[in-house]
């Protein structure tokens, strides 16, 4: 730029900055998620049920086997389903 008049240097710099900001805005617009994309992210089903716990050497049959009872329970709390949304 040495040797060029100052006002030309200013104009070139200004034009460069304008071009850069235009490119930046275009990239930002292209990356902005649409409402559809956002909706699909938000409308996810709830989490899976946690694993049922261990069972003793006696096995799953009988009234003392809590995991097996939980697996068959008709109530969501007895079934140990997720409690908090």
């Amino acid at each position: 730029m040495i040797g060029l008049p100052r006002h030309i240097v200013h104009r070139v710099l200004l034009a460069g900055l304008l071009a850069l900001s235009a490119v930046g805005a275009r990239v930002a617009l292209a990356n902005a998620p649409s409402l559809d994309v956002l909706s699909s992210q938000a409308l996810a089903p709830s989490g899976p049920a946690p694993l049922l716990g261990p069972i003793t050497a006696v096995g799953r049959k009988g009234w003392e086997c809590r995991p097996e009872l939980a697996a068959a329970d008709a109530g969501w709390q007895g079934a140990q389903l997720p409690e908090r949304p």
């Binding site: 956002l38 996810a44 899976p48 261990p54 050497a57 097996e68 329970d73 079934a79």
Partner: protein, 272 residues
């Protein structure tokens, strides 16, 4: 008359004595003694299995998963009879899953079910492990069997409903969450999932009612509020949608990703 009364009283006392005797403890049986080498070996193996179960379960209780894995792997190497075989596979799967070895956990749970085809807890855990692995096909097959064996089980209906919803089978998801809610009308999460199934089926009015039910049961349920906002948005109720997303962003303060989604949705709606 007196004779009859005496006879009845005698019979009553005699029958009471029989009942009382029936309740008495049995005399302890002597421990079988043998000098047979195979029998002694079998007794030693049975004892080792029992003791390793106790150690393995204690390790799982302390979240010492590598120790639990070692104990249950050793039990399985001893080829225990049922129900200890299927139970050892099941307990080993829990330890593997805790160590994020989900492929190994699935193998063990399949083995447990093969040995005991009615093992509901193993089916429940296999569906959860398959969901982690993204194996929706096996998860659905196991969930179908789980529901067949235990049609009233809340876990069976919840698990199959979730698998169906994730796989795009909204009709099955809708039916399962409706059945779950028939017995559990106060379960907010089931209302939310039912609403999602109804959105996929194009039943927006029904979905709106389910999301509102979920929010009446759990007012800070941010995902349900966002879902309700999307229904408002689809109906052109922009102001209500914006308010819903704004409230959801505040309610989701503990979940940064969800909060950002709610804020982005709110800001994407142009103010009038």
């Amino acid at each position: 008359m007196n004779r009859r009364a005496v006879l009845a009283l005698t019979l009553f006392i005699a029958s009471s004595t029989v009942c009382a005797r029936a309740q008495m403890y049995q005399t302890p049986q002597p421990v079988p003694r043998t000098t047979s080498a195979p029998a002694l070996h079998a007794q030693a193996v049975a004892r080792e299995v029992r003791e390793r179960f106790a150690i393995g379960l204690d390790a799982e209780g302390r979240a010492d998963w590598p120790r639990a894995v070692a104990e249950f792997e050793r039990i399985l190497s001893l080829a225990p009879a049922e129900p200890q075989g299927s139970t050892a596979h099941y307990d080993l799967a829990i330890a593997y899953a805790a160590l994020q070895r989900n492929d190994d956990a699935a193998v063990q749970l399949r083995a447990a079910i093969a040995l005991d085809p009615g093992f509901l807890a193993a089916m429940a855990n296999l569906i959860a492990v398959d969901a982690r692995l993204g194996d929706l096909r096996e998860a659905r097959a196991v969930a179908d069997r789980f529901v067949t064996l235990a049609p009233d089980s809340a876990r069976a209906l919840y698990s199959r409903g979730l698998v169906a919803l994730t796989a795009g089978d909204a009709a099955t998801a809708q039916a399962d969450f409706e059945r779950l809610l028939a017995r559990n009308p106060s379960y907010a999460i089931a209302h939310y999932n039912l609403g999602l199934a109804e959105v996929k089926l194009g039943k927006n009015a029904d979905a709106e009612r389910e999301f509102e039910s979920a929010l009446s049961l759990a007012p800070t349920y941010a995902r349900a509020r966002i879902a309700l906002g999307t229904i408002y948005l689809s109906e052109g109720r922009r102001s209500e949608a914006r308010s819903a997303f704004d409230r959801a962003a505040r309610d989701a303060s503990g979940d940064l990703a969800l909060q950002n989604v709610a804020l982005a949705m709110r800001d994407a709606i142009a103010t009038p």
